[in-house]
């Protein structure tokens, strides 16, 4: 069964540094999402992306965050200047364009900010 793949599985970064999290969505999916889960808390929506533009973003997704689909297969989340509170598990998800299809999630990237 096709999967959403995320790299790296664990990223350790110094506070203030830029980080890029990478995702390869399922090949025929055209909706893409990023979610995050701070340790011990619920999974929170960050941003959705379709047709090369952001469809919706949450309050969390401020100017320090950006997303990009640089080629036909990758979908990236960039945090420009990381803060301690950015430490979390980040999940990428994708879904088909045709109706009534659920989102499929990757295994996540654990981001640790030191």
């Amino acid at each position: 069964e096709p999967e959403v793949t995320q790299t790296p599985s664990h990223q350790v970064t110094q506070m203030g540094q830029e980080v890029i999290l990478r995702c390869v969505p399922i090949s025929n999916h055209l909706y893409f999402y990023w979610y995050r889960q701070i340790l011990g808390q619920k999974v929170e929506f960050l941003v959705s992306f379709y047709n090369n533009e952001i469809s919706e973003k949450s309050e969390i997704f401020d100017d320090q965050f950006s997303v990009e689909r640089p080629d036909g297969s990758n979908f990236t989340l960039k945090i420009r200047s990381t803060k301690l509170e950015d430490s979390a598990m980040y999940f990428c998800a994708s879904s088909e364009v045709r109706g009534n299809q659920p989102q499929h999630f990757g295994d996540g990237t654990r981001l640790s900010i030191l």
Binding site: V4, Q6, Y31, F32, Y33, Y35, Q41, K42, V43, E44, F45, S48, F49, Y50, S55, E56, S58, F91, A93, S95, G99, N100, Q101, P102, Q103, H104, F105, G106, D107, G108
Partner: protein, 114 residues
Amino acid sequence: AQSVTQLDSQVPVFEEAPVELRCNYSSSVSVYLFWYVQYPNQGLQLLLKYLSGSTLVKGINGFEAEFNKSQTSFHLRKPSVHISDTAEYFCAGGGIQGAQKLVFGQGTRLTINP
């Protein structure tokens, strides 16, 4: 705005016993509901989904859920659990129409004791 509430943060049960994980939702628009499972150190895997039609939904690994509009609930059940069902379970709503975000509950940690 849609919200999802999971009433139990932890549920311990003995192996082969039945289990019910509770989920309540609120929404003023069409309701799409999901249960996802997160095994240790893994991503979110779709267990089952309710979009419309029959209120009893069957999923993978012997789980089922019942959509109850009058009680605004979508509880997850399994008649006999196994050690391998130990995981975090998330109820979520939304996420079908276009690039619509998923709203997650707080999660319920299911622990199966021998």
